[in-house]
């Protein structure tokens, strides 16, 4: 479509305004995490790293950060494992129920998290499983596995069936075919799914709030302190969380968009 230069200019201005809206507050938080002043406001008083020192000397923060990192790794590994086996199973499953199965397995993504969190809280209580990071791990897999399934499935579908058949005809067994043909070709999808599910679990707050008990994850800890208002230490935590998440997600996005 051809556009007049005027329309193009308006478009670019709109894009830049939208970027300011989306990224502005985040950049402001990052900037103020380095501000000497205790109050996150202008004028700028000078550069400091003291809020980061404060953050890393706070035991609650370190403990919940440790919980969240461990949680993210476990959730990501489990989700990818379930997603990969599920996608591989779906690839070879010839049934009219395939579509329905797919729909049912991605349905957790549409269930409000408040309901899911409460349902899991009641369930764990009923089976006498004490609330801890373990229950958060189980809960997070419920909605990250469907996401991993869709991402890995999308990638796996780009592998032609003929390639698998060729491997079989050349004498490769079912496991050999999977490890030598399917797995390497699906790898970008697997890595993207792993990064994305880690990030989601690392940042998820609502379900974690319901089922973590006294084992606070980082978002649950952050929630307990942000309602009291702005503090430079939270700016520092926020900056750290952002840098971790944005990096992982950007890599995942690039991997997913790359179609060769």
């Amino acid at each position: 479509m051809k556009q007049s230069p005027k329309l193009k200019l308006v478009g670019w201005i709109y894009l830049i305004l939208a970027m300011i809206f989306v990224l502005g507050p985040i950049l402001v938080t990052i900037a103020f995490s380095f501000n000497l002043d205790r109050f996150s406001s202008l004028p700028w008083r000078g550069f400091t790293l003291q809020w980061y020192e404060k953050m890393f000397s706070n035991e609650d923060i370190i403990h919940s950060l440790g919980n969240s990192v461990m949680l993210g790794v476990c959730v990501s590994l489990t989700a990818v494992l379930l997603g990969f086996t599920g996608a591989y199973g779906l690839r070879h499953w010839k049934s009219k129920w395939k579509g329905a199965y797919m729909l049912a397995s991605i349905s957790p993504l549409a269930v409000p998290w408040t309901l899911m969190g409460l349902a899991l809280l009641i369930f764990f209580n009923r089976i006498n499983l004490p609330m801890s990071v373990v229950t958060v791990w189980i809960s997070h897999v419920v909605f990250t596995a469907p996401l991993a399934l869709t991402i890995i499935n999308a990638r796996m579908q780009t592998i032609p069936k003929s390639m698998e058949n060729a491997a079989w005809d050349l004498g490769a067994g079912s496991l050999q075919t999977m490890f030598l043909v399917i797995l390497p070709q699906t790898l970008p999808g697997i890595v993207a799914a792993a990064l994305l599910t880690f990030t989601i679990s690392f940042d998820e707050f609502i379900i974690a709030w319901f089922v973590c008990g006294f084992d606070q994850t980082l978002p649950v800890y952050i929630y307990s302190i942000i309602r009291s208002g702005v503090s430079p230490t939270i700016n520092a935590i926020g900056t750290m969380v952002f840098c971790i998440s944005i990096t992982l997600v950007s890599i995942a996005q690039v991997l997913q968009r790359k179609k060769d």
Partner: protein, 296 residues
């Protein structure tokens, strides 16, 4: 069966059920059963922090008799509709700019910059607005230095702040959804419209909008669910000035330790959400039939 077709292919197909087992098992035990449990719990009561075993409708009756819950339901519904409307109005032109104006090699770059925040901590994103919107925040300082206001405007801890937080939360995913459908429109159709003398506006209303309607509606439904069920923005940025429905669920769990009531509340919430979606999808079906089934 021809002798050329190796039996192994069929064997692999039969074993597929085994590969589906881990995922299916996890979903049945930790997704379906908890959902059954929450429905069951909503028909119980709690005495001395213990669930009773007899069936009762009392929680639902209490919810329908209490004006506080009706009010919260209305507040949540209006908030969700407002957020969906504003987000869509911002996201649609944004997606159009990305598809039709930004050169191809720059698209992924801008797209990632806009979408990446969706996958990062929503809590921190809500928090970042504290610094911007506060009485001594950047926005008030900016408006004051421009001479537009004398006194700082109270935005933080109001419904406006809640709305801003939610729009900020949902804009990336809405933009991505619309972007994906717009990108799939065949440029030849737009050329054809252009060749047939359609101006920009006519191409938009007769080609672009109808062809992107499917993605648009899906995106709106998705962010409607998220906006309705959210309590983070109302509880932090909104300062709990207006009680939203999900907040009542949280209160019932946190302060009253009344799980049966909380269960009934969350089921009512989901029912309300999907009732609205159902009504909308009926309209959509009627609409698409009138267009000769081309609504999608």
């Amino acid at each position: 069966m021809s002798p050329l077709e190796p039996v192994r292919h069929r064997g692999a197909s039969n074993r597929s059920a085994g590969w589906l087992l881990p995922l299916s098992g996890w979903m049945v035990i930790f997704y379906l059963i908890p959902l059954v449990f929450i429905i069951g719990t909503s028909f119980r009561t709690m005495v001395n922090y213990q669930l009773t075993s007899e069936f009762t409708m009392q929680n639902y009756l209490a919810i329908f008799a209490e004006p506080l819950y009706w009010k919260a339901l209305r507040v949540s519904l209006l908030l969700a509709v407002k957020v969906v409307a504003i987000t869509t109005l911002i996201a649609y032109p944004l997606a159009m700019v990305l598809v039709f104006i930004v050169p191809k090699r720059w698209r992924t770059f801008f797209l990632i910059l806009i979408i990446a925040p969706f996958w990062t901590s929503y809590l921190i994103r809500a928090y970042s607005w504290f610094i911007v919107l506060g009485n001594n925040g950047i926005l008030n300082l900016l408006l004051k230095s421009l001479g537009l206001i004398g006194q700082p405007v109270q935005i933080l801890y109001t419904g406006t702040a809640t709305t801003i937080g939610l729009v900020h939360y949902l804009l990336p995913i809405m933009t991505l959804t619309i972007y994906t459908t717009l990108e799939n429109i065949d440029p030849k159709l737009l050329e054809a419209a252009n060749d047939l003398g359609a101006g920009g506006l006519r191409s938009f209303f007769h080609v672009i909008l109808p062809l992107s309607a499917g993605g648009l509606v899906n995106g709106m439904m998705f962010i409607y669910i998220l906006a309705f069920a959210d309590f983070v923005s109302p509880a932090t940025l909104g300062g709990q000035t207006e009680r939203v429905f999900p907040q009542l669920i949280v209160d019932a769990v946190q302060w009253n330790i009344n799980w049966p009531l909380a269960s009934a509340l969350s089921i009512v919430m989901v029912a309300a959400i999907f009732l609205v979606l159902l009504v909308l999808s009926l309209f959509r079906n009627i609409g698409s039939r009138e267009n000769g089934g081309s609504g999608k």
